[in-house]
Structures are given as C-alpha cells and as structure tokens.
Symmetry: C2
C-alpha cells in the first residue's frame, strides 16, 4: 500500500438536512462530491437559501480538481453558483444532471464560463490520483449515480441519494452487479451511505407503486384534474403524461419550475408526448373540464406558487372549481405543514376533491430514499472495511450507524462524522484528525444573492419579536445643548396606552440628559448608552418587553 | 313544538385548530360551551396565545347564563381568563376540569371573583331554558364529558373531545348506554361531533396500548429513565407511577406544568404513590441511575422547557448522560417538527437512547380523538336529525361531513358551519341565517397579557423580513430650513456596501428636499411621503428589498 493519507472532509449534509458537499483529498489533490444548498429554517428571517461554507476549498484552491455530482436535486447542486463564483473548476455530472445545472448557471449568468463535463454510468474517468466509476442507482429523480472512487488506499463508495427500486419507471435498473463485484473483490475501503430514511423499517415502495393510485384517480375524475409534484419528479411527470394520453386529456404545465424540468426531460427523451396533447395554460378554458389535466407547481404551499394562488382563486389560467380533482403527489416536508394544510383547506373550500398523502393505499407519493432493508442489502453487497453514514440529521446518522454495527461479517468498523470533521485514512487505519471551518452561509436572493451576515439576521429576529424604539435627540454641535424635546419613533412594539408611554419615555430621556455632565454630553457614545440603559429598564418594567432600543443623536 | 328559534353560534374551533367556543341561544338565554385558546402560528410574531373574539357574547352580555366546560385541555379552557375578565358568569365543569381552571384563574388573579360550579357525569342541571346532561366520555385527559343539551326543540348533543376507549386506564368507561338511549328515543335534534381525527381510518387504539411499550422500556432501561408527555396526560403520568413502583424506581417531577397537573391528579385520587417514591429534582443525583425515573415537561421542543434545556446540558437537576433513556410520549404537533427534531438530535449527541413516535409497535403514544369507525359508531347510536361536524380545520370538517352523508338511516341531514356562522333551528327546519363577528385576539403574555393589534404584528413581520431604514431630517421650526445633513438609521437590512449606500441615500434625500417647494416643506406629511417614495424606489432598485421606511422629521 502506498504511503500517504486519504482525507474525507464533509463540508455539509452530515448532522444537518441538505447542502450535501464532501471533499476527498489525497496529498495535493482534492475532488468535491456534490455542492448542495439547504432551504433555511424559519428562524433565518428573510434568508432564501443557505449554502455551505467552503473556506476549506478556498484555502486549498490550487488543489481542487473538480466537482463531481451524483444527481440533480437542489440539495446536491443548488450551491454550485455560489461555489463556482469562488472557485471555477470543472463540474462532472450525468446528462440529465448537467441539463439542470445548465439552467441554474444560466440564471446566474455563470454558464458561459463554466466547464461542464458529461459522465456516464459505467464509464470510468480520472481526476488527479482518483479514478472515478459512476454506478447507476435509482432514486426519485432520473440519471442518478453512486460513485466508486478508486484511491491509492482502496475504493471509497459514495452512494449519493438512492433507493433500490426493482421496477423504475424508466427501466434503467439499479446496478446491483457492480456493487456486488466491488464487494466480492474485497477492496472497498469505505462505504458512505445515504441516511435520509435510516429510521424507516422495511423497504421503500417502487416509484411504480404510485401508478395504481394515479390510474384510479384518472379513471374517476369527472372534471379538471390538477396534479402537483416536485418539479424534478420526472417519474411522476412521465406517469401523468402516460395516463393523460390513455384517458385522452390535454396537459397544461403551470408554474415555471415544472415547465422547465418537463422541457428538459422531454428534450432528453425521458418521455414522449403525442402531437397536440400539450396545451398552453391560456388554452385550459377552451377545453371541456373532463378533457384537461394540469401539472402545477407548488406542493409545499409556498405562498407565491401556482397552486397556492389557484387555491385562493388568484391564478390567471388555473381556475379550480367545484368537482375538480387536486392531487398533491409529494411528501409534506417538516416545517411546511401549516402552509400546506392551509392550502388544502382553501382547495376544500373551492369544493375540489383533494387527494394528499394520508396513509391510504395505494400511495399517492413514495419516498426516493432507501429504508433499512435496502441499506442493509447494500452493506451486504459492498462489504466495506469502514462504514460512514452520510446525508442526514444527527439522529438519522446515529440510527444508521447502529444499524451498520449489527451487520457482522458485512461491515468492518463504523465511524460517525459530522460536517467539518476530517477523517484520515492511511495504511494503519482510520481516525478523526482535525476540524475544518464549516457553517451555513445565508443568501438573500432578493438582494441579488448577497450574503446576509449573522448580525442582520439576529436584528431581524429581535425586531420580529419585540419591534424597535428609537429615541432621537437633537444636540447643538456648538453649544452642546439639547435643541428640542426628544422624539421617539417605534414600530412593532405594543406599549399599551401609547400616549402615556411616549410622554413618560420623553420625560425619562429628558431627565437622563439633565443628569448628565457637560463632558458626558460631549461624548455621544456615553449619552447614547445612558439613554439606552434607562429606557430599557423603564420599558422592561412597564411592558415586560425588550424591543431593540437605538438612540440616535442628531447634530444640529 | 314551541314557537321559537334555537341558534348555534360557533365563536371558534370550526375551520381552525383550537380555541373551541360555541354559544347556544334560545330567545333571551345563551349558554357557552367551552372557552379555549389556540397556540399561535409562527407568522404571529411575538404573540403567545390567541383567544376567540367574543363580541357576540359581549353584545348580549345580559343573556349569558354561564360557560359549560367539556374537559380541561387548553383549547377548551385556555381562553377563560380573557372571557371572564370581560364577562364574569358562572363556570360549570367536572371536578378535575375545575381543578385545572382554578390554577389558571389563580395565576391571573381572577380566582377570587370566579363562580365555579362542579358538575358530574350523569347528573342533569338547568340553565335558563336548557337542561344539560353531562355524559361520561373517554379522551386523553380524565373526567371528560359530552353534553346532551335539552332545548325546547329537542336534544342537542355536543361530544366535546373524545375517543371510544374500551379500556381506559382509570376504568371510567365511555357511557355508550346514554348515547344509545337518546338515539332510541329518537329525540336528538342535532349531533355536534369532534372532527380532529376525521381523516383517520379505523379505530384509535386505547390509552392502554401504550402500556406494552412502557413496560418494555422500563424492563430494558439500565440507567436513568426520562419520560416526557403532555402535562395533562394524566393517564401517562399514572402509568409511569405504576411502572416506577413495579420496577422500584424513584420518581422526580421536573417542570412546572407537569408537577402542577400531577399534584392535582394525586389530590383527586387518580393514582396513589407509595411513601417515599416521589423525590425532589434536587435528589436525582443522590440515587443510583438505575433507580431513578424523571417525568419531565417539554415534548414539543419548546426552547425554555425542562427537556430542551436538559438536552443541551443546561438544566440544574436533569442531567442526561450516556446510556440514559429518554421517552417522548406525545404527538409531534404540526409546526413543531423542527424544534422537536433539533432537541432529539441533541439527546442523541448526549448518547441517550431516545424513543419517540416512529411508527413502531406497540406505540409510545396514541391519539385522544376518535377515528372514523368510532365517529360512525356514535352517529349510529345517536341517530340525529341534523349532524354538524365541529372541532377541526376546514378539510377535517369536510371529510367528517362526507363521512356522515354516507350514514343512511343514521343521520338525517348534514350541515357544514364555520366559526361565525349562525345556524337557526325552528319547527320548520334548520338554516344558516347570518354571520356574527369572530376572529383571533392575539395576546402577548410578555406585556402582561395585553392584546396585540394586527398592525403591530404586520410591522413585526415586515421588520423580520427586511429590517428598517429611518431617514431623520432636522428642520428649523422658524425658518423651515433643513438644519443638517439627513441622518439615516437602519437595522436588519443588508445594503451591500454600507458606506456607499448611506452616502447615496443621503444625497438622494437632500435632493428630494431641495426639489420641494417651501409649502411642501411646511407640510411635514407631504415631505415625509416624498422622501419615503424616493428612498423606496432607490432601495428597491439597488437591493431588491423593501425594508420598512419611516421618515422622521425633527423640529428644532
């Protein structure tokens, strides 16, 4: 075995949901697996997306040979514009993945300078000291791969996101044979496996399981049929197209994200559409309701999405009427429940027949991630010396690790890592050696994708809870005297009797100023702090709130 | 049948989750069923609780004969302090319900003036023209009743919250016989039934189903055992006490809400505790870990709850260590997922064995509300002429109504109502006749329970998204001239290059002022609006954000 050290450095996605990104380093060469984003938690007020801190990559920028993508979901490719604008390296992905990446980079005006290189499942390629073997896997998206990374110390298999779907809708099977061969040869150093569904027992149903329910829905719908799924769910879009053809319905695509994804899939031949079946949203009204099917964006109740607007009768083309059928073919993502159920309530008020995931069978949605039996199957096939759970919150990694610890004979040793840990392999074994800087970079897409600093978010949270109170004091620059009664501006703050409060607060500030020496008055910093402290005490006592208090001194 | 009109007026809880409150009126007499609160959605920033608008009751204050409570959950009694301080009428409830009410009123210093009257299941009482017959039902809480309200037009049965638990832990059975007798006599005018679980097929498991899992957990726990449930889950508290006795563990109660509820239940004889079994939280450290069980508040990941603090090792007495077991015996309430899973992740990081609702059997939590088969059973027993679904969001009411429409022979007519609708019955039938004012009153408990106006919440939301920008202009009162360069204060707003932005914004305001006539300058309203409009346009163009802009004019 050659002397040298292999480092695995997860920069995101281990111990948190989303923004998957992992660096693999051998000496002077680094490759990066995936470059995802995370949708922010509601506490990150006014933040639109979150991407990983890539300080580690920037510090070693001359070593980075490229970014290899496993598939095209946002939590694997969404951070690319941000990373490429810091570090323009080649990006490797399958045909479909790169088509999604192209759209994204085009939006950010980064496409022209990007170096995108297509890879194919089964065809190896080399990047520095690494030979990378993409292996076809099944998932809720199409054209997804796992990566077998040949390093000087052995093969590292990164599963990407997957489930073991024995009957994928595109008939491109999970390549079990290649996993089996790596295991048989006994040269797998480490298996890095998707933990998203590690809590679920049994098997995840095939994408094809949804067909039974969709068929039933198409057969029974007497008027317009609205179907909403994640825009990247090409399997569901294809299924809808197939059934629309069978049941002789025209299909309209409503919402930008779903139209774009469908266009790409159509271009790449993932499905066919007979001449005249696709109609423009403006034509929906021209066909009898029982001849129309609408594929519509917005399964998560996002306020500005097409479906949310249609639910409150505020969409130009998508009108939902009594007796129409609306299908939400997607997971309810934790954190979105309130918005989704509010939308469903509105759909019921429109007297639509609403079909959503409620545990009934056949399912209207299935997960794209492997459950415990599938996870164990892959461990059995691959027989890694080291097993490292990836892609999951801490409890999912932990449950996955515990599962692997029970796999005697199939798994050598189980290691737990979180984002920022550096796992070092050499001829003697493996160990965590250090921490690199990681974290969440908040992007405010309204401000042209600018980074929002922590302080701004903190202020926003503070403001959102208690509002603000601004005492404004005009001081004569020459004489140092206070020129008027202090003005007080406040918003987002309920002070009971407002006039009484303002009167009292003004009196208090005047008293604070009067009790200050001339020297204090000349030092605006001191004056501001005294006013702030007195006012804070007064407000806490009278209202129990703690608004943001920011004294302003105006020099006249 | 006597001439007259019966009105059912839901003031909360129909078409929304929580704050259940229903007025029943016959001529000059009104009774109120329940007086609940609602926990606010996260959009209601800085609001702690939400209670129903009771304008209707206040307008008819001389007619209100009393408030009758079905049980002691917050969504049925939590609005009492607010309503009683507007309208001090007698409150009727069972022994256990009143014990919870007493605690609550005492906190708000309203207990002394309150007129609380105990009722018992099976014992009728009269309020104006109504004879009320409380009927024992089973639920996740103890001492719960449905109400058969005898009116001049027939009997109205209000189920309260219930499930049909054939094996309640306190052996106080669901009184099916009384429901059956009302149905047999054929005099039920209307059935108002709990819709919370109308979406669920089948039967809700008995409270006793949890015992199997708890038993297994007690048998296997090798160190400290932490159990968290809703503080009002007296069944679970009793179960824990029973098993702690069996497995020879001391029990400490940690967290105010759970100690209070357990004290009440103990006082009222819902369970016994052998001498010396209960210990003070401070004594936890004095016993070997395998001899301690801690009942702890905070199943929903509330940041300040005892369990959340223990999860980050920040609780004085409740230390969670490697190998301890933590049980979350409760539902994950929609909207709380992020906080709950964050807490679970922290518990895993402490290397505790965490047991939560993950679909495995036997269940660690069961619902307290009837599923579809139970709902149908009650309809079959009661045979109402009119059926009205209550307690649920719109889709739940709708699904419940559809279920009832299929009950041929058992249900006469199904009517859908939402909060604020007035349903009128007379000898000719039933119809919706008008709307009364209803709505959500937001209470900010920090500010001593004061009402927060809509505008304040709107401001807080706006501030939370984009922060604020305050241009401050000093104008000489006498001459009308601007006395200094405009000052600009901003927070929660990221403007890219801050200095560049401030410089540009100041120049813009100065230009706006210079381009204003003397008359405009004398009218501060006009000046403010001009500055606001120009600044808004400038900020939107340069940053795509829309902070709250509030020009301030300071007269010197």
């Amino acid at each position: 075995m050659p002397a040298g050290k292999l480092h695995l450095v997860p920069l995101g996605g281990l111990g948190e949901f989303g923004m998957n990104c992992m660096a693999v380093r051998w000496g002077e060469d680094i490759i990066v697996i995936d470059a995802g984003l995370m949708f922010p938690e509601s506490e990150l007020l006014g933040v639109d997306i979150v991407v990983p801190d890539i300080t580690y990559l920037v510090q070693h920028r001359e070593k980075v040979r490229g970014i290899v993508l496993t598939h095209g979901h946002e939590d694997h490719i969404g951070g690319l514009p941000w990373i490429l604008s810091e570090l323009n390296v080649p990006v490797f992905g399958t045909e479909f993945t790169l088509a999604l990446v192209e759209n994204k980079l085009d939006e950010h005006e980064l496409l022209e300078d990007a170096d995108l290189r297509e890879i194919r499942a089964g065809t190896r390629f080399t990047l520095g000291p690494f030979t990378i073997h993409p292996i076809q896997v099944t998932h809720s998206l199409v054209d997804c791969v796992a990566l077998a990374i040949h390093t000087p110390l052995g093969v590292v298999i990164h599963t990407g996101d997957f489930k073991v779907d024995p009957t994928p809708t595109d008939n491109r099977l999970f390549d079990l044979h290649t996993f089996a061969e790596y295991g048989k040869d006994g040269d797998v150093l480490a298996l890095l496996q998707d933990s998203t569904n590690a809590e679920r027992r049994g098997y995840t149903p095939s994408e094809r399981a949804v067909r039974g329910r969709f068929d039933e829905i198409f057969a029974r719908a007497e008027r317009r049929l609205f179907i909403s799924c994640f825009s990247s769910s090409i399997h569901r879009v294809k299924l809808t197209m197939d059934l629309a053809r069978e049941y002789r319905r025209k299909v309209a695509l409503v919402g930008r994200s779903i139209s774009e994804a469908a266009d790409i899939a159509l271009d790449l031949g993932y499905f066919d559409v007979p001449e005249g079946m696709l109609i423009h949203p403006g034509q929906i009204k021209d066909f009898p309701p029982q001849q129309v099917c609408v594929l519509i964006s917005g399964t998560q109740g996002e306020p500005m999405s097409a479906l949310s607007r249609a639910a409150v009768d505020n969409h130009k083309h998508a009108k939902i009427e009594r007796g129409d059928t609306v299908v939400l073919s997607s997971r309810i993502i934790p954190g979105n429940e309130k918005g989704i159920y509010r939308m469903i309530d509105h759909l019921f008020r429109r007297e639509a027949d609403v079909i959503y995931e409620d545990g009934s069978m056949p399912p209207v949605h299935v997960s794209g991630h492997a459950s415990q039996e599938e996870l164990k199957l892959i461990m059995n096939l691959v027989k890694p010396r080291y097993f490292i759970p990836i892609h999951g919150e801490y409890r999912q990694l932990r449950i996955h690790a515990d599962l692997a610890r029970g796999m005697h004979g199939a798994v050598g040793q189980v290691l737990m890592m979180e984002s920022g840990d550096v796992l070092e392999f050499d001829e003697l074994g493996a160990r965590k050696v250090e921490k690199v800087p990681v974290g969440r970079i908040c992007i405010d897409s309204g401000s042209r994708g600018e980074v929002v600093e922590d302080l701004v978010i903190k202020d926003r949270r503070h403001l959102s809870e208690d509002g603000f109170v601004l005492p404004i004091i005009a001081i004569n620059k020459l004489t140092g005297t206070v020129e008027s009664i202090p003005e007080i501006v406040m918003r987002g703050f309920a002070a009971g009797s407002e006039n009484g409060f303002l009167h009292e607060a003004r009196r208090l500030i005047t008293a604070t100023l009067e009790n200050s020496t001339a020297e204090e008055k000349a030092d605006y910093g001191v004056i501001k702090e005294k006013v702030r402290a007195d006012l804070k005490r007064f407000i806490a006592k009278t209202t129990s709130r703690r608004p943001l208090i920011m004294p302003v001194i105006l020099e006249i």
